[in-house]
Amino acid sequence: MNVLVFAENDNGKVAKASFEAATYGAKIAASSGGEASIITYGYLDAASLNGLASYGIPKILHCTDVSDLDPSQLTKLTIAAVEETNAELIVFPHDYTGKSIAPLVSAKMKAGMVAGAIDYPELSGDFTVKTNVFSGKAFAQVKIKTDKKIITLIPNAISKVKVDAAAETIAFSPDLGAPSVTVKEFKSEGGEGINLTEAELVVSAGRGLKGPENWGMIEELANELGAATACSRPVSDIGWRPHHEHVGQTGIAIRPNLYIAIGISGAIQHLAGVNGSKVIVVINTDKEAPFFKAADYGVVGDAFEVVPKMIEAVKAFKAGQA
């Protein structure tokens, strides 16, 4: 089947989630004897365009003539690209933009959609896809009944794989009509930190830390590891940490390789957002804390003693690696 991959423009760059979507799309096209293409948009730096060319998809449609934050134009652009490439399957990263555009494309085209896929589709027999449901507490196998199909792929569900092949970038500018929303302002939060949904390593802390003034050591540990920082809901509710760090059932769901939970009890609503993590480390003074049941490694101890020791141990480890 022909596959179209929607690559998100994330402030002039293409982020990891889109490279994973490209890997995913390329593999499905290859195993079903179809062709894969990418649709992307807006100003993109050279590294991003080169990056997109390295995942085995030979054709990149690039539209620069678009208001890159406008849902209706991005929807029209995607549909025009589907027509141009005869795609039967459209893959979006299940990230900020992909998540909001995919349902619009689905309803406009009456193309059945599976949101939050965590694996490759079953191509023989019925076309079914495995997805996250019940906030990460379960999975569903969902069949798409329509000829045109849409999948949004959860970040970190599959690994991106670079291949040695060239791609052609083609300027693409279909008629997109007027934008439906007016973007007044984008307030950057200095976004140089690591994107939490894509982070491979995450250091997270909860109410056990006692107060916002104690996050210095959490940030230092994250920094040493090259990890993103996260927190439990009460911590963001009280304003100790920014709310975009809140993970869990009502926050964001993440699936890093390593999740280190410090001073977090492990309530079921918290676990819902992190139980897709490959390895979980829990540091808690209370050996009965429920989080230990969901953990791979645990330290029963006081964060204020354990975290500084971890920082030292990571520094020593890195020195040994160098």
Binding site: P103, K137, V142, V181, Q249, N257, K293
Partner: protein, 246 residues
Amino acid sequence: MNILVCVSKAPDTTSKITFKDNDTKFNENGVQFIVNPYDEWYALVRALELKEANGGKVTIISVGSADYEPIMRKALAIGADEAVRIDSPASDAYQVAAEIANYVSSNPFDLVLTGKETINYNGSQVGGMIAAIVDVPYTSNAAKLDVNGSTATVERDKQGGVEILELALPAVISAAKGMAEQRIPNMRGIMAARSKPLNVIPATVTDSLTETISFSLPPAKGDVKLVDSENIKELINLLHNEAKAI
């Protein structure tokens, strides 16, 4: 201002999730149902605040069977004026959206609010689909919402910052954390809810585009490996050599 809030039924966040009929159906036995948190805490409460400021009416709508009514009464107790139940089990996001879109086409609203996502299906789909079918502007994941005349101003989180945008009403907007503060229904609200209208209307569309074939649970975790707090070097070793996580 005439506001429609889409309200979904969800298992309480502490529910143990199990399946029945050969893992093809969610086992509702012993499960407590709630109004989907995003719909209740943010979409509904913000709709009530807008009504309190500008006048108008707040209607809630659900696509579901009779078992939806208790959570709909809860939404009425929080302050919605009336409720509409489209009498059909919810089979997929498109079917739900198409039903609501049909209703909206013959009963126009200034603003349609949904939650960011349901906590059971986590699709973030229904709002966008309604907007696409009705053909009105849409934005997802709004953390703040203000209305001035026929313009809505929305703040939404994006990777790396916050985006502020305007859209012309009528529009569909999905609500995320930050838009309002949870309200607990009081006795008067609960009494009043009993006599507020809850209209049941027949479904119009039946086609869903997807079908859930089966469910499964993640494999159980093995026992946690405890590391002594005096031996943190060992933890880093394990994470590197055994877990291959760093």
